[in-house]
């Protein structure tokens, strides 16, 4: 480069200036609450500063002041689009700390409900992505599919969004009657809607142009920035906690984990689309193979007494009182339990001091790591590219800000 060229400053010569724009905290594209401070040169993003924390609700502090079993409602509110997965992660962490082995049927039901939650998370993410690119019908089709999944979850857990279903050493309730039939019916419609969504977008040139080769990141960078889940697999890195460190019953199941190749938004989209299919496959397999049996550990220290029991037996009643007021005592120690959440590795790092409340309950939020890499992904691209990239990163405010 010659000196003359180096000295030439285009912006100075043409008397233009950069525009600083506040995207958020409440901007249509920031569907969590997050703020981007974007410096624009025309339409090109020169610099971006991401500010999070608008949805901070002191998850850890609240957990430290709650009995071990009372943390579940809080974990619901982490990744609220796939809340059972957080329940499962926390339950597994605490069970690992205690050394509990849950019955096989419980593991199966946890897998089923967890995979349904993953579907719901992906439906939300992809639907919102379509919405933000203006494809409104596709969005509504996935909302409809998600409603069907939520109907099933509601019939099992009792709530549509914050399920609060899993307990230490088991689950709160059995699957309802006719659940298998309901799943078969809902999944038939889900597959239809999935294929409609797929036909509307996957080969559509407009959509391809918006997604392909946009917001890409190399595999090395992605690993360095702590990417996990669909965003890492989109880069072609074969990492999935379900395979790397199988928990529940994943090692007994037969399914495929989709991988991308370039790590751009389109790969993320395709990976998530395929994961929805695979989740349906997993649920169907589980329903087929599910054994009969109890759903809770047969250990009175950890199992809550059933209503009949607690009202009829005085020992059981006293024990129940102690368990609720003091909290069930978890042996001292520390443990880290990763599971594959909808967005990536959800890890619970739990420390106990032997008391009835968690001494420390840390959740490793996947979207926190993903969002921190936003400047890497969008700097130099156009303002309009920020939207699909941010959507495919899938910031869930509850999880990122906790």
């Amino acid at each position: 480069m010659t000196d003359a060229k180096k000295d030439y400053d285009f912006h100075k010569e043409s008397h233009t200036e950069r525009m600083v724009i506040n995207m958020g905290p409440s901007h249509p594209a920031t569907h969590g609450t997050v703020k981007f401070l974007v410096t624009l040169d025309g339409e090109t993003i020169e610099d971006i500063d991401v500010e999070i924390g608008y949805l901070h609700r002191a998850f850890e502090k609240e957990c430290e002041n709650q009995q071990w079993s009372g943390v579940f409602p809080y974990t619901d509110r982490l990744d609220y689009t796939a809340s059972v997965l957080n329940n499962i992660g926390y339950a597994l962490a605490v069970e690992k700390l205690i050394g509990l082995k849950t019955p096989e049927r419980c593991d199966y039901i946890r897998t089923i409900i967890g995979e349904m939650a993953r579907m719901s998370g992906h439906y939300t993410n992809l639907g919102a992505g379509a919405l933000e690119l203006g494809a409104l019908s596709a969005f509504i089709y996935f909302v409809e599919a998600r409603e069907l999944v939520w109907d099933l979850l509601e019939s099992v857990c009792g709530a549509r969004l914050t399920h609060n279903y899993v307990r230490i050493g088991g689950l709160i309730s059995e699957l309802p009657d006719g659940f298998g039939l309901g799943v078969a019916k809902a999944f038939k419609k889900n597959r239809e809607l999935w294929s409609d969504f797929d036909k509307l977008l996957t080969k559509n040139r407009i959509f391809l142009d918006r997604m392909r080769d946009v917001g890409g990141i190399s595999a090395e960078k992605a690993i360095e920035w702590g990417f996990t889940g669909p965003c890492l697999r989109a880069c072609g890195v074969p990492f999935d906690v379900r395979k790397a460190e199988p928990y529940l019953i994943y090692d007994q199941l037969d399914f495929e984990i989709p991988l991308g190749s370039t790590g751009d938004n389109f790969d993320r989209y395709l990976v998530r689309m395929e994961e929805i299919n695979q989740s349906m496959r997993i649920v169907e397999q589980c329903l087929e193979k599910m054994p009969e049996g109890p759903i809770n550990v047969d250990d009175p220290n950890w199992r809550q007494p059933s209503k009949d029991e607690s009202s009829k037996k005085i020992e059981s009643l006293i024990f129940h009182f102690k368990a609720v007021i003091e909290g069930q005592k978890v042996p001292a120690g520390e443990v880290y339990q990763p599971i594959e959440g909808a967005n990536g590795e959800v890890g619970f790092y739990v420390v106990s001091n032997g008391g009835g409340k968690p001494y420390k309950c840390r959740c490793r939020p996947p979207s926190f790591a993903l969002t921190s890499a936003m400047p890497q992904l969008v700097t130099g691209s156009m303002l309009a590219d920020l939207i699909p990239t941010f959507d495919m990163i899938n910031l869930i405010g509850g999880e990122c800000d906790r």
Partner: protein, 364 residues
């Protein structure tokens, strides 16, 4: 010299067009947009606004919208250019209305000895007039964006300016083949020449129709070309800072432009008021049992009805495009306009010329 009957006739026609566009189509499009999109998306759509318990499948929602917006605060942001901020909606709504002046919505009928031609102004350069007027709408958008003192508005206005000017060029070129084919710039004449169904524009100029519709949607800034107002990127683009009555005017302008585009498409490609295989004189003869005046009046009503049906179908087509497709990125819009549509329309002009010279296309 304008005679009294001529004046009355013109006033009636203007009143009819105003009634049709502002009075009928502006609210009805809002309703179509809501209901059609809802049914397409497995929803029900707005059905709560009711008068005396009658909801009329949600038709009153447009009325409720209008009333709500009229009574909203008329807000001008601090630092905005007040006069221009107020002027911008007017500038964008007027061209959409007056473009209708040259669009024929019926044939020529002889009523009580008075020759009535169902077009407000039969200009020899009707096509040019429409394009000239349509390009004025850009001013409204740009002024709105600039005068709002808002970064989003400004970005939207800049995008709108570039996009609308680019697509005007392409849009003009897509029509040239048609003009060569019909050998006229007058819309009335073009419609008259489509009396023969085999001479309809859509039959000989299908590619031009696709290109024209694309350009027209881009002119109108609707999905997939709604980059200037992309709500997930620019909040609402150039009309971010508008509320109440001024917002209604942008809204109306958008709806009127849908009507104008559809009317232009009907006129150029779908034979206007013509019914396939039926000529106007044949229709009048067929209705002869009503007496000469009655036959003419009935034929006129049928013609207008056919025109409105075609118009509504085209509007619904535009709606289904809008609710199906995702949005382009701004630079891709420009690329599409300059690199695909412009060369394609030039090629089409060449092909039409060759077709006319070699006699493949019939002389009309």
């Amino acid at each position: 010299m304008i005679t009294l009957p001529d004046l009355v006739e013109t006033v009636v026609k203007i009143a009819f067009i105003l009634g049709l566009t502002i009075g009928f189509y502006a609210p009805i499009i809002g309703w179509i947009e809501r209901k059609q999109s809802a049914v397409m998306q497995d929803r029900i759509g707005g059905n709560r606004a009711a008068i005396l318990g009658f909801t009329v499948i949600g038709l009153f929602h447009s009325l409720a919208d209008a009333i709500k917006l009229i009574f909203k605060e008329d807000f001008v942001p601090r630092g905005a250019e007040t006069a221009l901020h107020r002027l911008a909606p007017v500038i964008s709504v007027v061209p959409a209305l007056i473009a209708f002046a040259v669009i024929p919505f019926g044939g020529t009928y002889n009523l009580w000895g008075h020759e009535t031609r169902l077009v407000i102004a039969d200009l020899d350069v009707g096509v040019l007039y429409v394009f000239a007027i349509a390009s004025l709408a850009t001013y409204g958008v740009v002024i709105a964006g600039w005068a709002s003192n808002n970064n989003w508005s400004l970005l939207g206005a800049l995008r709108a300016a570039a996009q609308m000017f680019s697509y005007e060029v392409a849009m003009g070129l897509t029509i040239i083949g048609l003009v060569m084919f019909y050998q006229s710039l007058s819309l009335v004449e073009i419609v008259d020449k489509q009396e023969n169904f085999y001479h309809w524009g859509i039959i000989w100029h299908f590619p031009a129709f696709i290109l024209f519709l694309t350009c027209a949607i881009a002119e109108n800034k609707r999905i997939p070309f709604d980059t200037p107002e992309a709500e997930s990127e620019l909040v609402a683009g150039y009309f971010t800072e508008y509320s109440g009555m001024k917002f209604i005017m942008f809204w109306t302008a958008e709806f009127l432009e849908i009507v104008t585009i559809s009317a232009l498409c009907v006129t150029l490609f779908f034979g206007g008021h013509q019914i396939p295989f039926v000529t106007v004189s044949g229709l009048i003869d067929f209705l002869g049992f009503l007496g000469p005046n009655g036959a003419n009046a009935a034929a006129m009503l049928i013609g207008v009805a056919v025109f409105i049906i075609k118009l509504t179908l085209l509007i619904m087509l535009q709606m289904s495009i809008r609710w199906t497709l995702p949005r382009f990125r701004y630079d891709q819009v420009m690329k599409l306009g300059w690199k695909m549509i412009l060369p394609a329309s030039l090629i089409w002009i060449f092909l039409v010329g060759a077709g006319i010279l070699t006699g493949v296309m019939p002389a009309v």
